[in-house]
């Protein structure tokens, strides 16, 4: 028998290794249906079933590539049906959808308010942790209506690609502080820590009838902004409050922004545009741009009989409008007065909101339990302390520290008397 050269043996075995161990079950990109949004809703008839809604992006839309084409195709396909969970629903969907369903580009998970308020909601949510393809940084948002209705009503005129639309509107909403950052990973973390509240994005395509004209524009939630024009009917504003993995309430835009400013964990928005009452003229309001540059400082005192929290909120502020025409740039006294008045206004708002969280929710969405956790040597000791039980009883005091930055491009305003002369 001829001896096989050693190099041939090595090459042969290498070939075997590659052929035997290569990943031959992989799918090419064009053979997959990309689900960008999954919607979950209660099944009316069977409580062990869930109504799954898929929004599948059509890759060919918006692509001018020569090889692509598909000019007249719609940008997305939606499908809603009942399944035992949203993992097995993937194969079920293939009775209608021609390609394999993949969650690789899944960026948003949408649940109906009805479903989110259900006590069993958390059981379905934990399916996310089982599925390999789903990332933890996807957005969780709550819709007022049924997701299947939501996706049918949601018709963005310009950003037709579904993945793009949600990405853009959520990023912008988080920059302006109208909606909270709402990652599924955070949802699990907060739920498992069993101390704080989780804030989810709140949205709807239905116009609410409780819109009141005299209300402060920041006091509304999704669906309550009254607008006209030829555009999408979907609104994302405010937050859905989750306690122990179950939705308990909604927050308005203003409350969401207050949560941002008080939070130790949320990524701060670029800037919040807020109108505050003018301390010099009661009839006017001063539009301001505020943002928190540094971290909020939290002092938790557990030594006393009644535990207390003292939070210092450093805020940078620019004045955008000044209808009272008070000269702020020139006179230090005016500035001091303005600063003090604003600090008081904000303190009041903070304290009111904190009171609401203490009384209504029994916990807070600011991540303050993490600051308190430092005071304990072991996690069991902290769990013994039971944040959710003690927080409503705590003395909370807020100290807002405003740092005025600038007063607009033209700092000096003409005297009203001279203009009206």
């Amino acid at each position: 028998m001829r001896k096989i050269p050693i190099i041939a043996k090595i090459l042969g075995s290498l070939l075997c290794v590659t052929i035997l161990s290569g990943c031959w079950d992989q799918k090419e990109t064009e053979e997959l249906a990309y689900v960008t949004v999954v919607g979950l809703d209660k099944d009316e008839e069977n409580e062990n079933m869930v109504k799954v809604t898929y929004v599948i992006a059509n890759p060919e839309v918006g692509s001018l590539a020569e090889g692509g084409g598909g000019g007249g195709e719609p940008p997305l396909e939606t499908i809603s049906f009942s399944a035992s969970d949203f993992i097995t629903s993937r194969s079920l969907a293939n009775t209608v959808i021609s390609k394999e369903i993949t969650y690789d580009v899944l960026r948003n998970i949408m649940v109906s308010e009805d479903f989110a308020r259900d006590k069993d909601f958390i059981r379905w949510m934990y399916d996310i942790t089982k599925e390999m393809e789903i990332r933890r940084d996807i957005n969780l948002f709550v819709t007022k209506e049924d997701p299947s209705a939501f996706v049918q009503n949601n018709q963005p005129k310009m950003d037709t690609g579904p993945h793009k639309y949600y990405e853009l509107i959520f990023n912008r909403g988080q920059d302006t502080g109208t909606i909270p950052p709402s990652e599924v990973g955070q949802f699990f973390r907060i739920t498992e820590a069993d101390a704080d509240l989780f804030l989810g994005i709140y949205g709807t395509t239905e116009k609410s009838d409780n819109y009141k004209r005299d209300r402060d524009p920041d006091q509304f939630m999704a669906g309550e902004l009254n607008y006209e024009g030829q555009t999408n009917t979907t609104q994302f504003a405010g937050s859905a409050v989750f306690k122990e993995g179950k939705m308990i309430d909604t927050l308005t835009i203003e409350e969401t922004r207050l949560s941002y400013l008080l939070s130790t964990t949320m990524k701060q928005p670029e800037a919040l545009l807020v109108a505050l009452p003018d301390p010099f003229h009661e009839e006017y309001e001063v539009a301001t741009k505020i943002y928190r540059e540094k971290d909020i400082q939290i002092n938790v005192n557990l030594k006393r009989d009644k535990p207390s929290i003292h939070a210092t909120v450093p805020i940078k502020m620019s004045i955008l409008t000044n209808h009272g025409m008070t000269n702020l740039a020139k006179y230090r006294d005016n500035r001091e007065k303005l600063k003090k008045a604003f600090e008081e206004t904000l303190n009041k708002e903070f304290e009111e909101f904190i009171k609401k969280t203490q009384e209504e929710y029994g916990s807070e969405p600011f991540g303050w339990s993490l600051a308190a956790r430092k005071k304990f040597r072991t996690i069991p000791e902290f769990e013994e302390f039971d944040w959710m039980k003690t927080y409503p009883e705590m003395d909370v005091s807020i100290d807002t520290q405003i740092d005025l930055e600038n007063f607009g491009r033209q700092t000096d305003l003409p005297k009203m008397k001279e203009v009206r002369d």
């Binding site: 990943c23 090419e28 690789d104 993945h163």
Partner: protein
């Protein structure tokens, strides 16, 4: 059988005596006949015998030479003419001939060696030695611009096929008595000569001995030029990485010489070999140092980038598109999916198809006769790129990926390293196609292991980076010229300080 013929230098010959070694017979006719026989005269048409009679001393003589490689005018003017016109009776032959350099040889074999090198042999009646008149004149190009290693800033001379021109180009740059030009014959039949250049007071003796030993250990009939010699003396003949640097720039060769490297030159080679070579010497180009510090380093960054782009772009595309679609932003993924919608092949096949097409264009473009060269470019770019996309054979993104990789590969100037990079690319593509990023990582790690294990004439391939040596740290980046004060420590030079 003649054993290894080995010469230390032209003058000092240490060759074992064999039966064929014939002394020069004092009998003029016998000697002349021996020469004629050796060269198959008159069958061999360019072997010339010029019989003459020396005036004054009254002796018969003959000049034999090969007229195609000898300067006939020099022989005529400085040898034949004075010999015939001589009137004095007591005069030495050396005093009659006015040629600039001549020597004597005692054996026919030695003399034929010189005749083969273009010199003429003068046979004198009654003398048992032959006079060798230096009059060689090989045809060849003049000094021209480098073709493959062109620079914008810096000298534009290149080596040519005449070795003496090449040595002169080196000597022009190092006017130092310590520059040694050693020569030795390395092939038995063609008697090819190799010239080993080094600086006596810098180059390490052990390294010199190593190179000498390897060059002289060759047992072959002919080695035509340095490109072939390179393959004889390199350590790992099957390795994908080159271990001897090949450059056509005398300025580059000289800068290596000054650092303590050894340079090999050969007749018929428009280039030189630099030993030992590290990875960095292939990575660098002559211009890196001619350009000012920031500009030079900028080109270094570009080159490193193009290195990685060439090796990885196609592979990353294959890996990401087939296995890691979660890694790329949805926008890009959907764009890729859209372009691939109508392509019938898997991503791996698509990429390999285009890579092969690109390699074909390159190879064909190189071999194509110059007049139809531009046509190939048009055919390659238009037919293969545009039409393949329109016919839905490949997706446009693949054309971009492959073209980017192909273009970047040209930034790696050294021809050997260029091939290395191009071949490694395929390895990575297949690894990516079979195992995704995991496979690429495995191949990369194995490749790093292999590179670290390589040695070129005893010098680790990645030195001075790893293992670390004292040096000017001219690796990925270079330092300001005055700070490059050390010669590379891995060469163990006799004098490490440059400045």
């Amino acid at each position: 059988m003649m054993k290894r013929l080995f010469m230390k230098s032209k003058k000092k010959q240490i060759s074992p005596k064999t039966d064929h070694e014939q002394g020069v017979d004092p009998d003029f006719d016998v000697t002349l006949e021996q020469f004629k026989k050796a060269y198959f005269y008159p069958v061999n048409t360019d072997f010339t015998v010029r019989n003459l009679h020396i005036g004054g001393i009254n002796k018969r003589a003959a000049i034999v030479f090969i007229n195609t490689i000898t300067d006939i005018q020099v022989i005529n003017e400085f040898a034949i003419d004075p010999l015939i016109k001589n009137q004095e009776q007591n005069i030495l032959i050396e005093d009659i001939i006015t040629i600039q350099s001549m020597e004597t040889k005692n054996t026919i074999n030695d003399a034929t060696l010189d005749i083969n090198n273009g010199n003429a042999a003068l046979i004198i009646e009654g003398e048992s030695k032959v006079y060798i008149l230096n009059a060689s004149n090989f045809e060849g190009r003049s000094v021209e611009k480098p073709d493959n290693e062109s620079v914008v800033k810096g000298p534009k001379e290149a080596f040519n096929e005449k070795v003496f021109t090449n040595i002169s180009l080196v000597r022009k740059r190092i006017r130092d008595k310590n520059l040694i030009v050693e020569s030795s014959i390395i092939s038995k039949r063609s008697k090819n000569m190799v010239y080993m250049l080094y600086l006596k007071d810098i180059a390490n003796e052990k390294l010199l001995d190593n190179v000498r030993e390897r060059v002289n250990a060759l047992d072959t009939d002919a080695i035509q030029n340095l490109s072939l010699l390179e393959q004889y003396i390199e350590e790992r003949k099957y390795s994908i990485f080159p271990s001897v640097l090949y450059t056509e720039r005398p300025d580059r060769a000289v800068s290596f010489l000054e650092d303590g490297y050894i340079v090999l030159l050969m007749e018929n080679s428009p280039d030189c070999l630099v030993l030992p070579a590290t990875f960095w010497s292939f990575f660098h180009s002559a211009e890196d140092h001619y350009l000012r510090f920031p500009y030079g380093n900028f080109t270094r960054i570009l080159r490193m980038l193009s290195f990685f782009i060439t090796i990885f772009t196609s592979a990353i595309y294959v890996a990401v598109v087939t296995y890691h679609i979660g890694m790329i932003p949805p926008d890009l993924l959907l764009a890729i999916a859209a372009t691939r919608e109508k392509v019938p092949f898997p991503a791996l096949v698509e990429i390999v198809l285009m890579e092969i097409a690109f390699e074909l264009i390159r190879e064909a473009g190189l071999r194509v006769p110059t007049p139809i060269g531009p046509t190939i470019g048009i055919v390659g770019a238009l037919i293969l790129g545009q039409a393949a996309v329109q016919a839905n054979l490949v997706s446009p993104i693949v054309v971009i990926v492959v073209a980017l990789g192909g273009l970047s590969s040209f930034a790696v100037g050294d021809i050997s390293m260029n091939f290395t990079v191009r071949l490694i690319r395929f390895l990575f593509i297949f690894a990516a196609g079979l195992f995704g990023i995991y496979g690429m990582t495995a191949v990369f790690v194995m490749g790093m292991f292999y590179m670290v294990s390589l040695k070129s004439f005893g010098v680790p391939y990645l030195s001075p980076l790893t293992p670390s040596y004292q040096s000017s740290k001219d690796t990925l980046f270079r330092r300001a010229i005055p700070k490059e004060a050390l010669r590379p420590g891995y060469l163990k030079p006799k004098d490490i300080k440059k400045r």
